[in-house]
Amino acid sequence: MKSLTEFFAMGGYATYVWSSYALAAVVLIWNVVQPLRRERQLLRTMGSRVQGGRRVAP
């Protein structure tokens, strides 16, 4: 079993390997979060518009 330091060093390729994985994490998480937030926002604005502005916009 490799030690943790060895694992993070990635045989000297740490910069390339970990930046690839970090970049993927950022892109994939943004892909998930952005449309979920957009959906919630869409439903909220549509809901308040339908109710004739009875609800005060935040």
Partner: protein, 248 residues
């Protein structure tokens, strides 16, 4: 049969279906990512030529495969919308584009991060890299068309034509490593041959590919729901949904 399809392809039904299915896909994808990351980063041995740097493959190859797969989904959905005037086709095509662009970007960026230590350069203008870059421009062009044309039906038609013409790029990307001499290595996994990769490296790759694919499916459903809501915002069913108990 046709009646059934039409019912399923009607926006309210598809919206309900997408709402039911997407949490399951997110769950399956998370499990596959956990297994694939463990397999790729810990379980798989280092490559005898490339050392630990080969682990970039577990991000690079799934993104690259998806960049082409998403394009085919987008072009097919666009074609369905264009030819049979199925509104859901237009909607799905539109939801695909930003996702496909992000996978293409990821494939190019991780390829660059892999190319630097292995080839000694971030970028070369060879056939594989250039055709993949063109794919990114096709996605961006499609998105630009969508935001430039106000009328959604017209935007969908123009986008579908662009997407269908751009399909010619997909076999070029796929065969580029065989047709031209290139720095990029040939295919590791083909349908006709045994993969030239050890099973302990191959299984994490298939796991990560499935993880990416299920994540794409889940996010596509969410994006499709958003597009449906915008397309149908003046219909009664959307109004009821927006004022219903589930919102806020």
């Amino acid at each position: 049969m046709f009646e059934r399809f039409h019912k399923f392809a009607s926006p309210p039904h598809f919206h309900a279906f997408a709402r039911m299915l997407s949490p399951w896909l997110f769950g399956v994808s998370a499990l596959l990512f956990a297994a694939g990351l463990f397999g790729g980063l810990v379980y798989a041995p280092a490559d005898y030529q490339q050392g630990e740097s080969f682990r970039i493959i577990y991000i690079h190859v799934p993104s690259a495969w998806l960049s082409m797969f998403v394009y085919m989904v987008m072009a097919s959905a666009g074609a369905v919308g264009l030819i049979w005037k199925v509104k859901m086709g237009d909607i799905v095509a539109r939801a695909c584009a930003p996702l496909g662009a992000s996978f293409t970007f990821l494939a190019l960026a991780t390829g660059s991060l892999w190319g630097k230590p292995m080839w000694g350069t971030w970028w070369v203008w060879d056939a594989r890299l250039t055709s993949e870059l063109i794919l990114l421009f096709l996605y961006l062009g499609y998105m630009a068309l969508q935001s430039a044309i106000e009328d959604r039906r017209a935007a969908a038609r123009a986008g579908a034509v662009l997407a269908i013409v751009g399909v010619v790029n997909i076999p070029i990307i796929h065969y580029s490593v065989e047709w031209w001499s290139t720095l990029h290595q040939g295919a590791t996994i083909t349908k006709l041959d045994r993969p030239s990769m050890d099973i302990s490296m191959l299984i994490p790759l298939l796991g990560m590919t499935l993880a990416f694919k299920t994540l794409f499916a889940a996010v596509l459903l969410v994006r499709t729901r958003c597009e449906i809501l915008e397309f149908e915002q003046h219909t009664n069913w959307v109004r009821e949904l927006a004022t219903g108990p589930e919102v806020r």
